[in-house]
Amino acid sequence: MDIWNQFVQLFFSGLTVGSIYALVALGFVITYSITGILNLSQGDFAMLGALICISFVNSGFPFVIAILLSVVLVMIIGGLFERSAIHPARYSSTATLIIITIGAAFVFRGIAIFVWGTQPYALRPFTGNDSLQIFGAVIQTQNIWAIGISLVSLAVLYFFFNKTYMGKAVTACVVNPFAARLMGIQPLKMSFGAIVISAGLGALAGIIIAPISGASYDMGVMIGLKAFIAAVIGGLTNAPAAIAGAFIIGILEAFTEGYFSSGYKDAISFGLLLLVLFFMPNGIFAKASGKRV
């Protein structure tokens, strides 16, 4: 029975981490689809969200308000980042834009050090320290919250992109920017929107994970990179596949940590990244299409 308990336990922690990666990975996919930029500072939105939220909670704001305020604040930061760093360089080469996002990640991390220092902070769980018994395994309620909030956000985004005018306009830019412009949609505004939405998603992810693994100025690095791997596994432009990729990475990591060694956890995720890049560069869920350039 113990083996089974451990399995369920690891599976749930994998799902939790996977749902965090899913939110950030979705940000990658949205940004990449619309702007063609791999935003390597994506994970730092999660860090900013978590730390800002902790500050609000500590200064006495009600929990829900603190969460909303910090998400909005990070979205504003995302917008400023787009206007000040991405927009002026929009005609540069892809490589240059990638390096710019690396620079931005440095700046975010540095600002976080100035404001919060290098020590880690804790956020209290959303609904106390209760735990549930599921199949004999003890699951913290925060894990359920994390998975639930992620799934709801993903559903809302699905609705946004497929049912609303705004969402369809965004999708149009992804499919064919030139045609979209002819129809009166402005891809440049969409670039702004994409990064703002991604920033919000990242912030939410950071706030959800903060009660589980704490928050510190450098937490964004690995969240961002893992989400990145998830997005690549999914093929970078395919949102549902990226989400599936995120859960695969999360579960793979949890099991590596539980059964093998935590030291090699990162190497295994990145090994998977290399395998996918080398053998299935369109993602593991891509159907074989006859399209060749």
Binding site: L38, A85, S93, T94, I99, I102, G103, V232, F279
Partner: protein
């Protein structure tokens, strides 16, 4: 790819010689100042790595976010083979370089079939994996505790131990590296790479084997990094995994961006500016923020990186000749061919965006 002496001596010798003379004369002036010498030695290591990376970024148009891994492979190979097998540091350095080139080959073959941002990702992943092995493979690397007791390098029976001696060793390597890079750039490979830069499709239709040249550049840049890593290991005699983290790869990238990837001198300029600014920050910032640690550096370089890429995407190596041109018109006229051949052809990083 051998050294084509005729091309090296062609036209642009004076500028290069001037730089060489200044570099080789510097320690005679500052020989008593160990702080300055060790700073100049660090610039030397970084110059070697970033010259290799300049070749890859400026001329092959590819970015590598895993250069620290090759730097580390050189360092750990030197450390391991000299301490465990008693191999001469020179042989260990060659082994490290060959190993790095082989690893670059294995990673490069599948990676160069990918488009440029996927290559960035692949090298990033590769860097993290190699770092994990440096950290976890304790029998070979000593894990997080690091690797102690790496023997110093010796030349003609002289053990190179003082900073004064090591300065010459590292800068001879750096200058040979720059010379070699110039040679590559002005050779058939360099022209082929420039054609790839202009248009991959056109180059391909002219029979240029794009993948082969990119792969060669990647391997050469790996060798540069490995040699610098070996030298570093024999200089400090102690290494640990943190030296070869992802952030180090990004610092190398910053040097190339500051220096400008369009010229073989970009690596040297970038490394010098990076190290000098870093040292300057260490002096200045505590005056304003008493409790500041080393972290403010990353903010500063982050902002600098973004600003450079937006407003000066070709880096300092293109701006410096312009300033020189204004200040020293006579000197410039004699060296016109160098400036034209170096600065007008290659663009900064990656191709133009379509």
């Amino acid at each position: 790819m051998g050294l084509d002496l005729k091309k090296i001596y062609n036209g642009s010798t004076k500028g290069s010689l001037l730089v060489a003379v200044i570099l080789l004369g510097l320690p005679l002036v500052f020989s008593t100042n160990n702080y300055l010498l060790s700073t100049l030695i660090m610039i030397g290591f970084y110059t070697i790595v970033s010259t290799g990376l300049t070749l890859l970024m400026g001329y092959a148009g590819q970015i590598s976010l895993g250069q620290a891994a090759f730097y580390g492979i050189g360092a750990y190979t030197s450390a391991y083979f000299t301490t465990h097998f008693g191999l001469s540091p020179w042989l260990a350095m060659i082994v490290g370089a060959i190993l790095a080139a082989m690893v670059a080959f294995v990673i490069g073959i599948p990676a160069f079939r990918l488009r440029e941002h996927y290559l960035a990702l692949a090298t990033l992943g590769f860097g993290v994996i190699v770092f994990t092995f440096f950290k976890e493979w304790k029998e070979i690397t000593g894990g997080l505790n690091g690797f102690f007791g790496i023997p110093p390098i010796s030349l003609f029976g002289i053990t190179i131990q003082t900073d004064f001696q090591f300065y010459y060793l590292v800068w001879v390597f750096a200058l040979i590296g720059i010379l070699f890079a110039r040679n590559i750039v002005q050779s058939r490979i360099g022209r082929a790479l420039l054609s790839i830069h202009g248009s991959e499709i056109a180059a391909n239709s002219l029979g240029v084997n794009i993948t082969k040249y990119k792969l060669q550049m990647f391997m050469i840049s790996a060798i540069y990094a490995a040699v610098a890593g070996s030298l570093y290991a024999h200089y400090v005699t102690f290494i640990n995994p943190q030296l070869f983290e992802m952030i180090t790869s990004i610092y190398f990238l910053i040097m190339v961006v500051i220096g400008g990837a369009g010229s073989v001198w970009g690596g040297l300029i970038g490394a010098a500016v990076y190290v000098c600014l870093g040292e300057l920050l260490k002096e200045i910032v505590p005056l304003f923020i008493p409790n500041a640690g080393g972290e403010f550096e990353i903010v500063f370089f982050g902002i600098l990186l973004v600003i450079m890429l937006i407003y000066m995407p070709n880096g300092l190596s293109r701006s410096v000749p312009k300033i020189v041109k204004r200040l020293l018109p006579a000197w410039h006229r004699k060296n016109e061919s160098m400036l034209v051949s170096e600065n007008e052809n290659a663009s900064s990083i990656g191709g133009e965006r379509l």
